[in-house]
Amino acid sequence: MPALARVVAPLAGVIVAVALFAATRGLDDVARGEQLGPGFWPRLVLIGLGLASAAKLVENLRRAAPNDHAVARAGAAGLGGVRRGTLLLAIATIVLYVALTPWLGFPLVTVGFVAAFMMLLAGARSPVAIGAAAVLGTVGLLYVFVKLVYLPLPKGDGAFETMTLALYRGLGIF
């Protein structure tokens, strides 16, 4: 872990704990008589989080002091060796998958996601395998989760909803 991150991450933990502790103000206004209010337990937890983060900060500082290189070797893997572009692409693909689902509907987005994820990130090369996995996999999932489990998966908006419903009827699951 880079030296700066070793300090910033636990320090952020302390700051977040303090800020959230402040946000518990007023929670106990509803408490009856001498009873403990709904703010008691979160405050206890946040004190624990703040103290643990402070302890982690001290631990990191003490470990870093004598020999930075030794610590780097013995410590966490961090992002060393990680293909950062691939990581960002993976996160972006997953985010797009979830973000587009309400508009395009689960079946269409899933076919697209499976094809894109396999091709761009998972290292699949055969177009036949990618196409077959995307289409057959999605149809299989629709049978299990729509037909058998009655899960109301997002159908999409407007024309895409009509398309999804037509697909469901075609598959005999609606």
Binding site: A5, A31, L36, L49, V58, L87, A90, V98
Partner: protein, 502 residues
């Protein structure tokens, strides 16, 4: 004793009647499959079969539900071991060890151990139910929320701290999880906490979204970015066929017996359930083990202890229901509904007035755990075939399954967003040596601890000394304190030794 054996024999005769036996098998199959699907919990599946029992007699109806119950608590282990996706929170400790074993090429062994130890735990707990139900129920009734709180604290302390390379990191992770557990509408006063006006946060963060994200999505990301922090499997994925290691269980008899005992004991405490018992059993095993540092790296003892306690808790939970009419868990609460629907009131008189029915149910539990060995093997075999799927396809569909599992919780895309967010968090936690298990423990057990603590305070006029004046609670808390402080003391002693030597 003779009377019990006679009643049990009658129960077996009834339970092997074609319809009754069929209900056990069907229930087990439903339970195992539903338990293995993330987002569809064992409780969901029991609720889903309830309407089908309306037209049945009480015995086949309850045998169906018992089959779902026994199969459901085991099913989640299969996907946990194979794909790092625990089907239910109770399967989390099994996943910690089983998935690591699978990655090291011991998939067959891990699946076999899970099946055998589940069946053993369930079988022994069913026998315990048959022979010792009434006296155990009286003992368990002496436990109050004070003891429950201490049991949960013990579970949190033992699993979170032991064997971690950095106690501070473990505690940061634990308290973060406990904080996540406080988000949403508070139960006692109905006050919103930390929702910050975001609608979906008002109902809280469902721990299943956290589980699926941290474990499955985090793992997929870790694998596709190139340098997985996990060791690669040594054996081909195609060889992931389970085997039933009967003899291999002998060296693990200690964890097996202890896990089962913890399962029965904790499961028998009304309100504790299989999740608490699996964590407590795993934590206890970690303390007793001579190699606690190996826990989390694929430790067979940890898997066996957790898995036997999960199914061991089923008999314990049934004790309350049958002898006192108090459901010991959410699953037995649904079963109580089935009793009442058929006009039968569970309670102290049940054993004398409906002896045949009660012992048929007990015999059914015993049979279910025996049949589960075969069905569990078949189910694990079917799921293991998925391991033949090339990793690119498998990783892609794991993401899609996580989507479905998260969405199925509340039919809300917000849960899917949370799952993906925790997936990214899980990736970075792995990379920066922030342990994931304590966070998971915190979000699952934290709300329970809060509930028991506040209820105890209401019942005892805010007198915190009640936690140390009641013997069981005091003992559990004392052990928890020792567990937390022991690594610090050990480190101080290690430091003082070289100093004194010079």
């Amino acid at each position: 004793m003779g009377e019990i054996l006679g009643n049990l024999a009658t129960g077996f005769v009834n339970a092997v009647q074609p319809l009754n036996f069929l209900m056990i098998v069907v229930g087990l199959a439903i339970g195992i499959i539903a338990g293995a699907l993330p987002g569809i919990t064992m409780l969901n599946s029991i609720v889903l079969v309830l309407p089908f029992t309306y037209l049945m007699g009480i015995v086949p109806a309850l045998l169906l539900m018992i089959g779902v119950y026994c199969g459901g608590v085991f099913g989640g282990s299969i996907t946990g071991i194979l794909f790092n996706i625990p089907g239910d929170p109770m399967n989390v400790p099994t996943t910690w060890e089983g998935y690591r074993m699978s990655r090291q090429g011991h998939t067959q062994y891990a699946l076999g151990l899970a099946i055998m130890s589940s069946a053993f735990g369930g079988l022994v707990s069913a026998l315990f139910l048959a022979f010792f139900a009434p006296p155990f129920a009286r003992f368990a009734l002496s436990f109050s929320t004070v003891e429950f709180f201490s049991v949960v604290v013990f579970g949190l302390a033992s699993v979170s701290v032991l064997g971690q390379s950095s106690m501070a990191a473990a505690l940061v992770s634990l308290f973060s999880g406990m904080f996540l557990g406080t988000i949403g509408t508070e139960a006692q006063y109905g006050v919103e906490r930390f929702a910050f006006g975001i609608p979906f946060l008002k109902t809280g963060v469902d721990f299943v979204t956290v589980l699926i994200g941290l474990f499955a999505i985090g793992e997929v990301l870790d694998q596709i970015v190139g340098t997985s922090s996990e060791p690669a499997a040594e054996t081909p994925r195609a060889r992931a066929v389970p085997r039933l290691p009967l003899l291999a269980l002998w060296p693990l008899r200690g964890p097996l017996v202890r896990g089962t005992a913890v399962g029965i004991a904790v499961g028998g405490l009304a309100g504790a359930g299989a999740t608490v018992s699996s964590f407590v059993s795993y934590g206890l095993e970690k303390q007793i083990s001579r190699t606690p540092e190996l826990f989390g790296t694929g430790h067979a003892g940890g898997l066996v202890a957790s898995e036997s306690s999960v199914n061991g808790s089923t008999g314990g939970a049934m004790i309350h229901l049958l002898t006192l009419g108090i459901p010991g868990s959410a699953a037995t609460a649904v079963m109580m509904g089935a009793f009442l629907l058929h006009g039968i009131q569970p309670g102290p008189l049940l054993f004398t007035r409906q002896t045949a029915e009660v012992y048929t149910i007990v015999a059914g539990m015993i049979l279910a755990n025996v049949v589960m060995i075969g069905l569990g093997f078949l189910a694990a075999l079917s799921f293991a075939m998925l391991m033949k799927v090339p990793p690119p396809i498998l990783n892609t569909f794991i993401v899609v399954f996580c989507f479905l599992g998260a969405f199925a919780l509340r039919n809300d895309l917000a849960d899917v967003w949370l799952t993906m967010l925790f997936g990214v968090l899980g990736f970075f936690m792995r990379r920066y040596d922030l342990p994931i298990p304590p966070l998971v423990m915190g979000i699952i057990l934290g709300p329970m601890a809060e509930q028991y603590f506040l209820t105890s305070m209401v019942a005892h006029a805010n007198d915190v000394s009640v936690f140390v004046t009641r013997p069981v609670s005091a003992a559990l808390l004392a052990i928890s304190v020792v567990i937390v402080l022991w690594p610090v003391v050990k480190r101080l002693r290690q430091r003082s030794r070289p100093a004194s030597a010079t």
